[in-house]
């Protein structure tokens, strides 16, 4: 009896490093075991392929009206036809430009405003109470106003998207600044940092994780703002195309555009992830 107990303790002691190496091996594939992981991937593929196949069959057997709901094969044809077209290129450029402008301007302005509110009690006392009410306006409702003011221009789209993006990041940056570890601030001061140094070397780096979470969100919202604005009224852009093809019952082309938008969003998100991982490499243990 004693022998077995002793044996088991010695063996665990010897084998102690094993769980760690096992964990390291499993690490690249997440916390799941390889078997489970294969199953999950298989399930995902079955889900997608199954859905597409069901959709296709439903269209061919006329269970659903393809004029209204489209059909995967039709979408594929539409993609081959629409993507290389001049119209698609012009729309992509117009929409992309507006997204880029609104994302950059809105994020920078929003972050700066948020930082100012977070750092200055006076500014926050004056402007802070307006943030929530303004942010609760359904911004799409402002689109007609902007179109009246700025016409059917890029400015109209950009301004609408900025009104969404700005407030998200302002709120975000304000919160990030306020939650900076008080100990780090004291340490910075006794280490000899003045206000600008504190901002640059303590406050901003502390805020990076929160700001990044906000930036992801703002990208999605600048996409939303621009496309929505184009759908309401514009001379060009992806949003206009969606409206045009929908109203002329070219549903397959509408889906083709949506697929392109999804791919675009996924790619941009992946870029964000990579950047975030690099910037926040210090968070790895």
């Amino acid at each position: 009896m004693t022998m077995t107990v002793q044996d088991s303790t010695t063996s665990t002691a010897v084998e102690a490093p094993r769980p760690r190496s096992a964990r390291r091996k499993a690490a690249p594939s997440g916390s799941m075991s390889p078997g489970r992981r294969t199953f999950v991937w298989a399930a995902r593929i079955v889900l997608v392929v199954g859905f597409v196949a069901l959709w296709e069959v439903a269209g061919r057997r006329e269970w659903v009206d393809t004029t209204l709901y489209g059909q995967p094969s039709g979408i594929w044809e539409a993609m081959k036809e629409y993507y290389p077209s001049d119209r698609a290129e012009a729309s992509a450029i117009a929409t992309g430009k507006a997204i880029f402008l609104s994302f950059v301007i809105g994020s920078v302005a929003g972050t700066l405003a948020g930082l100012a509110l977070g750092l200055s009690k006076t500014l926050n006392a004056i402007f802070g109470p307006f943030l929530v009410p303004i942010n609760s306006i359904p911004r799409i409702a402002l689109a007609p106003l902007f179109i009246t003011w700025f016409g059917l221009t890029t400015t109209s789209k950009v301004v609408l998207a900025i009104t969404i993006v700005f407030f998200i990041l302002a709120e975000n940056a304000r919160g990030a600044v306020r939650s900076v570890d008080a100990d780090l601030m004291v340490m910075g001061r006794v280490a000899g940092l003045r206000s600008l140094g504190l901002l640059w070397k303590v406050v901003l780096p502390s805020a990076v994780p929160t700001l990044f979470a906000g930036l992801r969100l703002t990208f999605t919202y600048s996409l939303l703002g621009v496309v929505a604005s184009e759908m309401i009224a514009a001379t060009n852009g992806v949003g206009q195309d969606i409206v045009l093809f929908s109203s002329s019952y070219q549903v397959d082309t509408v889906f083709a555009i949506l697929v392109a938008l999804v791919i675009f969003a996924v790619v941009v998100n992946a870029i964000f992830s990579a950047l975030e991982q690099w910037l926040l490499r210090w968070q790895e243990t």
């Binding site: 100990d183 004291v186 000899g192 003045r194 070397k201």
Partner: protein, 284 residues
């Protein structure tokens, strides 16, 4: 008086606390908390002074006044003949939490106080490496906070505190968050560094806040016992245990001289708060 490096005269600190009420509109009666009352203290250059007391006795407040983080509500305080203000290149400050910037490597953390003093990049790096080596962290220069153990983090914090070679070290329970063994190792290391600087030009005055009486007696030249409500100095005792002590900290703990002083100060510290005799017996 003129020979004092730190001079504290008649200092008091009153915090106004708004009493918590359920309704916000209720007439805001405020209560005054006397954190410090009529503190007089002279600290000569190069002395290692420990401030000991239970929480709420104002020891950290007093330390923060010396750092220039808080202004006293009454009285005067001078450090090196001047009213303490920040930024102050003459001080090094360390607390129980490491307060390392997690996005900086160990080396870049140690460089921070050098950056604010305008030291050139190459010189900073060399100095930071040297300091990390001194606290036993050679080879850890490029690691981030999360990759270091609690004890290592506190070592980096110590290296950072000492990096710019300040003449005044203000330490707020710097080893309180460490386990007993790491704590003793850190105490030995820190005391060793301090004792090596004694008598040289780089001699350092230390004000060391702790709630651990043994630690205070073990390390300091002089122990100031403080009591709360209102925060005040109850006892000011020179500790005449021979120096250097760093190598012998473990032994000193068991010497009769140490025990006698510690016991005596313990009576003073706990005597004010009526406690059962069993608690005192435990300490002895």
């Amino acid at each position: 008086m003129t020979t004092s490096y730190i001079s504290i005269a008649d200092v008091s600190q009153v915090f106004r606390l708004r009493t918590e009420r359920g309704a916000e509109g209720a007439s805001g009666s405020s209560r005054e908390l006397v954190a410090l009352q009529d503190i007089d203290l002279e600290i000569p250059s190069g002395q290692f002074v420990a401030l000991v007391g239970a929480s709420g006795c104002g020891k950290t407040t007093l330390l923060n006044m010396m750092a220039g983080l808080i202004e006293p509500s009454g009285g005067t305080i001078t450090v090196g003949g001047r009213r303490p203000t920040l930024p102050n290149p003459d001080i090094g400050y360390m607390f129980a939490r490491d307060a390392l910037l997690p996005w900086r490597t160990a080396q870049r953390n140690v460089e921070l106080p050098l950056e604010t003093r305008g030291v050139r990049r190459s010189e900073r790096a060399a100095r930071a490496k040297e300091m990390l080596d001194m606290v036993g962290l050679k080879g850890r220069e490029r690691q981030f906070r999360l990759q270091l153990s609690q004890g290592m983090r506190q070592r980096v914090a110590l290296a950072r505190t000492l990096a710019a070679d300040p003449s005044l070290l203000l330490m707020d329970e710097p080893f309180a968050a460490l386990d007993a063994r790491t704590k003793l190792a850190m105490q030995m290391e820190f005391l060793g560094i301090w004792e090596r600087h004694q008598g040289s030009e780089a001699t350092k005055t230390v004000v060391f806040v702790t709630h651990d009486l043994q630690e205070a007696v073990l390390l300091a030249d002089r122990v100031i016992v403080m009591l709360p409500n209102p925060g005040r100095i109850a006892e000011d005792r020179i500790i005449d245990l021979p120096r250097p002590r760093a190598e012998r900290l473990g032994e000193i703990l068991y010497t009769d001289a140490f025990k006698a002083i510690a016991h005596d100060l313990f009576e003073c510290l706990e005597g004010a708060i009526q406690r059962p005799a069993s608690a005192q017996a435990r300490e002895a």
